[in-house]
Each structure stands twice: as C-alpha cells, then as structure tokens.
C-alpha cells in the first residue's frame, strides 16, 4: 500500500456517460461506495470472476447459488493500456490525454479503468507494473468509480 490516500472526492458535475448499474452488478457498485473492491467468488473452489459468472470449475447450481461477492485487495498489475489523445464524447472534452488500462487483479480477473497519479508506463512495451485501486467518490451523483494507480 502506498502512503497516498486511496480516495478522491470529486464535486465536479458528472458530464460523462453514467455507470451501467443493473441487477447483476449493483452489489459491486455498492461495494465501491463503501470503498471495498468486490469480485464474484466460488464458495467451493475460491475461483474469482469479474463480472459475474457461473463458476467454470463446477456444474453449478441454478443462478450460481454457490457464488458470492467477496472483498479483495484491489491490487494487480497492468495487462495492457492505451493513451487516449482525442475525445469522442463531449463528456471527455476537458480530460486531455488519459491512460485507459486493463488491470489483471491478483485474483485473476481483468478489470479496466483509467490510471491516476504521477506514475505512468514509459511506453506501450512497459507493462506489468503493480497497481492498486483508487476510489473516486462522486457524492452528488451517488456513485463511486474505481481508478488505478501505479504503486511500484
């Protein structure tokens, strides 16, 4: 864990597309608001999934009955990333360049979000850095989005 606080509070108006919160991922988004990073875990073998899925290691019960949302560290490493130089949606017009990364969580699943913080990969070939989740709270909107930052 780095010494930097892992919470960003933003009161700026949200102009981007809204998160797609539905019955399959509502618990995940609730977890983010509580600054917990949840993955969908098999009670029998411990395999982790994100997003929600039936466990691939078993003939599972209806509606994935042996699965549950479980808190994990929110740590992982960069699997691949790109750098957006242009906005294609008016909500991103003021963002400037940003890095959109695929993160391989320590538990296995891939999750994507933008990188925050001062550390950046030096080029496309520079992957594998350790990252951790940063919770970006939007109190006025009632949701928290996950970001990642490089910690090594």
């Amino acid at each position: 864990m780095s010494n930097e606080p892992n919470v960003i509070i933003s009161n700026a108006p949200w102009k981007k597309p809204l998160p797609n919160i539905d019955e399959d991922n509502a618990a995940f988004w609730d977890g983010l608001k509580k600054h917990k990073f949840l993955v969908w875990k098999c009670k029998k073998c411990g395999a982790s999934y994100w997003p929600k899925a039936y466990c691939q290691n078993h003939e599972n019960e209806p509606f994935a009955a042996n699965m549950e949302w479980a808190e994990v560290s929110g740590k992982g490493k960069i699997f691949a990333f790109n750098t957006h130089h242009m906005a294609f949606d008016a909500g991103f017009d003021d963002d400037g360049e940003f890095i959109y990364a695929l993160v391989e969580l320590d538990e296995g699943p891939l999750v994507s979000s933008t990188l925050v913080g001062p550390k950046k990969p030096k080029d496309t070939y520079d992957i594998g850095q350790r990252v951790e989740v940063v919770y970006e709270d939007h109190p006025a909107e009632g949701f928290t989005v996950p970001r990642f930052r490089i910690v090594d």
Partner: protein, 400 residues
C-alpha cells in the same frame, strides 16, 4: 482430404453494390437498390426471390428498425421470409449459414442477403453538433463508458498494445498493413482511397488517436449497401455470371476459451473456424489464392495472418513488413482495400471482393487463376472488460 457433402452444393449468383457517399438516402432505400442490382446481376426477377435476410449490426445505428419498413417491402419482394441477422461486423458469414437451411430444405429457391449503412452521412450530421465520428451509433451499457471507453478504438487498441508488449510488434509494422491495403485500394476505382497511396511515414505522421493507434490504423466510416443472391448449385448452372460456390464455413467464439485464458487480446477465435471451414472444403491453407480479412483495425489483420498460420504466432510484424500481403506478395490480403481503404460495410466489403475475385471481375487487382478465396467476419460486444466476439470464415470457390 474428403469434402463434406454440403461443400459446393450452394453458390452466390448475384452481387449488387452501392458504394460511395449517399447523402439524402435512407439505409432502406440503399438496401433496396443494392438488392435490385443483385437480382438483375443474377439474371432473375423479384418474383424469383423466396426470402430476404437483412444483415445488420446488432446494437448499432440504423433507421430500418421497423419491420414494416423493410427493404424487401420497399422493393416489392413478395418473399416467404424476411428477418434480421448479424452481430457487429459479422454479417455475410452468419447470413449464408442461415440461408442454407432454407435452400437445403427446398423452402425457397433463391435468398437475397443485404446489408446497408449510412454511417458517413450520419457522421457528417454529428460533426455539425460538435461530435466526432460515429456518435450516432453510440452503444450504451458498457462497463467502460463512464471511464473513457468511448468508441471501438478505446478497447481494440488494447489488442495492438498487448501484441506489441508480448511479441515486440511495432507501430511501423502495423503501418505496413495500412500501406499494403492502400496499395490494393489504388487498384480499385470503387475504393474511397483510390488514387491516394500512402507510405509508412504517412502512417507514422498521421494523428495519434488512441496510442498505439494512429488515424491510419483505423477503418473508414462509410455509406453504402451490398446485396448478394444465394441459391443451390444446380440452379447456379443457369446463372449468367460465374457462380461462387460455398466450399466451407466455420465459426469461433472468443468466449469459448480465449476470453477465459485472457488470450483474446493477442488472438482471434480462428482455430475452430479454420478447422470447420477447411475440413468441409477438404483443402489446406496452400489452396487459398487471396484473403479478405475483417480489418476494423490493423492489428486484427496481423492476428488473423498468424492465427490461420500464414506465419508463426508473434511473427506477423516482420511478415507484413516484408510486403507479404501487398500487391506482388505471397498472400494477397484485402485486395479491394478492405475496411481500412475501400469502404466499411462490415464483412460484406470482403464478401463482395471475394465474389469479384472468383468471377474474374476484379480489374487491375485481379488475382491470376483465382480459385479459392477466404472471407472472414468479426463482431461482438464489449463483455467487461474485453471484446467478446465471433469469428466467421467462409471459403468460396470457382469450382464446386
């Protein structure tokens, strides 16, 4: 290798193409016109057409959503069935597989398959409102939308980036794909980029859109429509144009293994599709005279060259840099200019070119003694956080 009994039993006998900007025309009118041209090309009349399949990107834009406004009704086809089929850019391959079922059971004698888009015209409208590109076709509900995953390039560029990081592929090598396709387009008067050759330096100097992708790694936004007529091999004998026989088809899904193995960022679901299609046709890669690969972005071409086995995995970069897919190369790829330099009508762009190559109608870009052509399609949804897509492979031959 023995052929599957279905191989060569069906053929494409008519082709209709409406290309170039179509301002002021709706998708359904472009669709109807392409279908009219295909019926004429097949030497048929509308009353011969037993059914129509509307090849449409699921989830995308389009003004043909109301079934009563179907292109088939506009054109006056008095058919037995009309329905929508397609997944992203995987249109023609899925449509052919579906149509064969109706022909096989003698339900109809001829099926008209058609796809049309007005992306370019709609993008011009979007521009007036200060938005860029395909704003009208914006999909909703993806995980990454609020986080910056605004367009296809936002996640497709991960594939190029991952391939670069894992295998050492370079942007200049991806540029070689763009340059090769442009060289083909310069032999095709119908191509948007006809008469506008480029170099790798031009590729490198084109604006960086989403690094590692430059503007010249990204496919075109187009208007147009392509229709074709499918029938049985015995009826195809009476066709005025040389039939293009369906030798084999195969399908693969990223969601089967690649997604779970996290290989979907460096591989496409080629393996099962190749095995099925080539197995049915009883041929090998050596029998392929040219490929029309789905090329929404440059890296997809690289993946397919590797995954089909034209070169080893990870060696696609040097392979394309050697000029292998360009005019005069060992395996001509996207001889019309493809989605990168001809026009973007999903896999119908490649299918139309394959039909023309089989017929010997490809003009200056005609492949000599072209016997067997491979056409691929690709399309899907953004299953968080990576593309979950289908890969379709269709083999057409000059002889059954």
């Amino acid at each position: 290798m023995p052929k599957h009994p279905s191989s060569g039993k069906y053929a494409i006998v008519g082709l209709g193409v409406v290309a170039g900007a179509q301002p002021g025309r709706s998708e359904r009118m472009i669709a109807a016109e392409a279908a009219r041209l295909a019926i004429l090309d097949a030497g048929l009349t509308p009353k011969d057409i037993g059914g129509a399949i509307d090849l449409r990107r699921s989830g995308g834009g389009g003004d043909r959503a109301n079934y009563t406004d179907a292109f088939s009704r506009v054109l006056g086809l008095k058919n037995h069935f009309y329905f929508v089929c397609g997944r992203g850019g995987a249109l023609a391959g899925l449509g052919i597989a579906t149509a064969l079922s109706f022909l096989d059971r003698g339900i109809v004698n001829y099926v008209c398959l058609m796809g049309a888009v007005t992306d370019w015209s709609q993008a011009q409208e979007s521009k007036k409102h200060g938005h860029r590109g395909m704003d009208h076709a914006q999909k909703r509900g993806y995980w990454g939308k609020p986080l910056g995953d605004q367009r296809a390039v936002s996640h497709h560029s991960w594939m190029a980036a991952r391939h670069m990081a894992v295998y050492g592929t370079t942007s200049r090598q991806l540029g070689a794909i763009s340059v090769a396709e442009r060289a083909w387009a310069c032999k095709n008067p119908e191509a948007k980029m006809y008469g506008r050759p480029i170099t790798v330096e031009d590729h490198q100097n084109s604006p960086v859109v989403v690094d590692p992708y430059h503007l010249l790694d990204i496919s075109l936004v187009s208007d147009g429509g392509i229709a074709f007529i499918l029938t049985t091999a015995d009826r195809a004998k009476d066709s005025p144009k040389p039939p293009a026989f369906v030798l084999g088809q195969g399908f693969g899904e990223v969601s089967a293994e690649l997604w779970w193995d996290k290989k979907n960022f460096t591989h496409m679901a080629v393996a099962p599709a190749k095995q099925q299609a080539f197995g049915q046709a009883g041929i090998t890669l050596n029998d392929i005279d040219c490929c029309q690969f789905y090329d929404c972005f440059t890296a997809e071409v690289l993946f397919q060259l590797e995954d089909y086995g034209f070169c080893k995995k990870g060696e696609g970069g040097p392979f394309v840099e050697s000029g292998a897919m360009a005019p005069g190369g060992s395996i001509p790829v996207n001889t019309s200019g493809g989605l990168l330099s001809c026009y973007h009508l999903g896999d119908l762009t490649g299918m139309a070119e394959s039909i023309r190559q089989i017929r010997g109608e490809a003009g200056e870009r005609q492949i000599k003694d072209c016997e067997v052509v491979m056409t691929t399609g690709h399309g899907g949804e953004l299953l968080s956080p990576g593309m979950c897509s289908i890969h379709t492979c269709t083999l057409l031959g000059r002889h059954a």
